[in-house]
Symmetry: C3
């Protein structure tokens, strides 16, 4: 694995290796992701290789689906909680049989290196070794070294954030807070469950929010009070950021009377689609405003059309690999938010994109101007060698390195976390080395930047 | 030509060369293109170098037009069939005089290598050699080795598809079927002539379609019956795919009454532009449905604004180099088609694009999910070194290699076919070699993938 | 600096160096930019390092703003002409203290090389040297070698164009014309001040235009006459181009009555936003038509949303780093202009873009077809190593090299001019060298192209 990702050019490779070695053992900050606090609160062994590696990872099973394998063949849980009959080992065999289709994908590389560095085996991922690998991983999982808290420590994590709805009771985070364990597992406040009145479970989530806060969420002022209280609850458990998954990053403030009217229509089930969109845009403004008060870093993950495959959604629910990006505009959409809060000294906004066309055209120019705005690293489909390369090549010249945060793994695949951060560090080392050999950076520039990209910019950007 | 396109890095170059050598003599599959069955049915020598190389190739003459040369200077046939007076040799001289403007373009490279490998000459393409080259090629054309069937065999073609309208009588394909010649020249069913009621020749094409099938194409049900019959006629002549050249890949099903109404308005010449667009979107759904019945692989080539230069169009007609790409959206547009047929086991959909912004944002995520969807290779303006590089760099990480088909030449320039496939094989070898040296692929991965990219994926994707 | 930007690969580097050396001393053509004729007319020393390097350069201060530094800290003049109190030396110190944030940006590189090659010092740009550098540059500025005319000569400039509104009296250009100095400082005719009725100063500019021409600009025919006269005034002072900074490159001709009506509404302050947009689109057609008469090369710089940060705009006015690009469509928008004038033998249109998605999809296909159309080089945020690489990689294969003009610095930072041109020459040399080593260009192709890219294509494109 030593030279993985590094340039074929020996001069670049040498410098990349030296830069990488200088930071490869720095602690890992994971300020945004989708692991579960419960794992660490309970600290029980993971069930089996399939349920650890395949079942929760839509990066993996979407590719298998593309090859004609059904979610039932993979025993992915259905919407009603049931699951096709079968043996997890058979699912593993099916996966390994098709592992060749992952050639050249980050998913394939993560797994290859995860086996090597986390599960400490060199058995190649091919059909003939399916059982051998299954047994090896299965044996690992029973070893306390592979219990969640021990993985956290072995991975050299300094902080790990989960993602939680505003109506989440945070029961596992509370237990962790009183557990005496030294790991830092914090929640991120993601209020999409209550800020999007178009969700089928919106009313139910409002009800939970009301229960958790004692506020009347049937009216707009009560709703705002409840959100303020909940943000504080999250902060009390270490939370330092919010996150907003919106189809469009449109932002604007509805007048007091307009927002009351929209809220009433939504409560009574008479809101239009445009009401929903307007309310979401308005709530982004409100969330930014609250961030200027309580200091939570605001993140926006926009531009995904969720559950493109309706049959699959009806059978298996969300987050099943059928989310597809759409075009995403930032210059006009973020205008009101940035005009109002973009120069506020107590505000930080981290913007991610799946629409790479916005890198040079909109995002780097915006981040290279507004003090509050920072660019998030390549996300999801672009969390990859080429994706990171395109990101750096596109944004650095206009936004500089210092208007970006460092790597964010954004994953639900716990054992992949150290590998993902390692990849990012390698790819950044290679990028800096290439610029150094070309004379664009001095060696000293590169040496100063390397730990910033690996650690410092995330720490600063997320105010850790 | 030995190392053409290969990386300057010696390690990459070495592996690229080895990969390339391992497949360079594999047969060529050309499952989509614009050569003419007549050439092979008649098997007569081509007229002269100009009429073979320049007259039919809008890649060439559009660039000459951009330098201020008129289509009459190049003796391109006018819409009325007439042609400016003059000597084909003078046209050739004019072209060779301006050949320097093709530096760095695929057109320039194709021609350079075509001269070397097809016409077996090293005379450089510059002004002083214009006559020498003309005479050399002219002499070649009179040699039976350069007759169409012999070229097919010399080029190691295994299959060559032409493209034909639904109202085409396929007379030349029928003659070929009874000719005893072993070459495989098949038609591709491209019903744009009858599925776009906005075309000036629509009614005339419907009439031909009616004649060919005996169905009443003045009514919608008869029209559908005629299409089904025609698909079968094509299949009987070896056809295994359809193709659809649409400005937008919008897909949706009109209700039974709506489509009847639109069809009636179209027949009576009272259809609106939106009627035309709706009918085209509806017919994509119908064509997909018929494909699930008869197994024809469906291809979509969207996103071109045809005949941008109206004066030129009035004087010389279509396909004269004045077609310009426009933005193209896939996530929303293909939603209905993919929801309905994207998981159908008997359906294959190959999608091409000229809008490269859709690669990472829309097309790779879609192809990496839906079993029926495959990505076509870079097309037209992007059938080039940089275009292929961008394609692989953009789509492989999300869609993998196995959700793409192999190279498609899509050309009307017969002597360029082996060169185009050779370029694609070289560029893929270079891409795989670079990933190998970077440790992203193992050498074994690269060796497994190479023949798939050169041959296997096309064979599978087109069900040959 | 010797190998700055060149490939890490020794073969490419060697050829790049040889190509670069062959042209590095060619004269500089600067056919479009934002320096001031007054500097050369007066030929007085520049005030101090801060007012030369920082105050006018929004590339620099926007990045400092992004780090939380205020425009008052930087003593940027306010809209009312006032300026925060303070010492230019303190501004310089603040800048140098933050210079590390420019790592990897063109702005950082320009300055680094400007110090070396223009100010002839190797003192590194870091905090400890702030005063040393200030004193060094300050001493230089007092030296006649650094007076504007001497810089022009030392920089080997052959021509330098300023940019001037239609209502500009061109007083400094006139003085220069009678000064006896041999430098060529010409104006570029940029009539946005009078062709956009949505500008707050439109009426005022019309009044000036009327004064300068004696025409009645309150009516549309008088307005056109005034424009014709002004174009001639500019031409009399050496002008050879126009420029149009429009948000959208939409072009179409209003009917005679429609344009009269729009003009009247605009004059009476009752025009709608759509009136403004329609008039701008119409005036692009008129300007193209006048170019066919008087031979001025037409430039379009579209796709920027100006003054995104409204607070900043109210306090400090335009051109303060808060302009952000937006999506830009060309295929449909330029259709009427290109259909009408795109094949006119006396017309040249140079199109720039900040929306790189249009390179392969729209701009290269258009420029590779229409004789009148040429592509401008990467502009503004994309005037950078990666930006130039993406430009060449994206456009050459479809448009060739010969449908582009050479480098345009478009700068108000006089001492950066030779450095910017040098960078472009180096990056082009590297691009040609890489293609040569890959076998795509012959060495002879590369040697022929190099002086064209450095000098010839601009000379031809701008008809100098």
């Amino acid at each position: 694995m030593n030279d993985l990702f590094f340039s074929p050019n020996p001069d670049v490779r040498k410098i990349a290796g030296e830069l990488y070695i200088s930071i490869k053992d720095m602690p890992i900050l994971s300020p945004h992701g989708h692991t579960e606090a419960r794992w660490f609160a309970e600290n029980k062994p993971f069930e089996n290789p399939t349920d650890l590696i395949i079942t929760p990872d839509h990066y993996i099973f979407r590719m298998l689906v593309s090859q004609g394998i059904s979610l039932d063949d993979l025993r992915i849980p259905r919407r009603d909680g049931s699951r096709a009959d079968g043996d997890p080992r058979d699912v593993w065999r099916l996966f390994v049989k098709h592992f060749f289709v992952f050639a050249g994908t980050p998913t394939g590389l993560w797994l290859r290196e995860e086996l090597r560095s986390v599960f400490e085996t060199d058995i190649p991922l091919d059909e003939t070794n399916a059982d051998l690998l299954y047994d090896h991983i299965d044996a690992c999982l029973k070893d306390p070294r592979f219990y969640p808290r021990n993985l956290y420590e072995r991975f050299n994590l300094e902080l790990l954030s989960t993602t939680n709805g505003a109506s989440d009771d945070l029961i596992w985070h509370k237990k962790l807070a009183h557990s005496g364990w030294q790991g830092t597992i914090i929640p991120c406040f993601r209020p999409d469950d209550v800020t999007d009145p178009g969700r089928p479970d919106w009313r139910e989530n409002l009800r939970k929010l009301s229960e958790l806060t004692g506020e009347d969420t049937e009216c707009y002022p009560g709703f705002l009070k409840a959100l303020r209280k909940r943000r504080q609850d999250f902060i009390n458990l270490g939370c330092n950021s919010t996150d907003h998954g919106v189809e469009s990053p449109r932002t604007f403030t509805l007048s007091a009377s307009a927002v009351e009217a929209v809220y009433k229509r939504a409560i009574s089930g008479r809101a239009t689609d445009e009401d929903h969109r307007a309310f979401i845009a308005h709530m982004l403004m409100i969330m930014a405003e609250m961030s200027t008060e309580d200091g939570l870093v605001m993140q926006i993950h926009p531009g995904v059309y969720r559950n493109h495959d309706k049959n699959m959604f009806h059978g298996y629910g969300g987050d099943k690999g059928a989310d597809i990006p759409v075009r995403c505009e930032f210059t006009q959409n973020l205008k009101e938010l940035l005009n109002t809060f973009g120069s506020h000294p107590d505000f930080k906004l981290v913007v991610y994109t799946l629409d790479e066309t916005a890198y040079t055209r909109e995002l780097a120019p915006l981040a290279g101007y507004y003090p509050a705005m920072l660019l998030g690293p390549p996300w999801w489909f672009n969390d990859s060698f080429q994706g990171m390369k395109r990101f750096r090549e596109s944004v650095v010249e206009t936004a500089g390195f210092y208007n970006c945060i460092g790597f964010v793994d954004d994953t639900r695949a716990l054992p992949s976390i150290p590998v993902r951060h390692d990849f990012s560090r390698r790819i950044d080392a290679d990028f800096l080395a290439e610029l150094t050999v070309r004379g664009i950076l001095t060696r000293r520039d590169a040496e100063t930047l390397m730990p910033e990209l690996a650690y410092g910019l995330t720490k600063k950007g997320f105010r850790l």
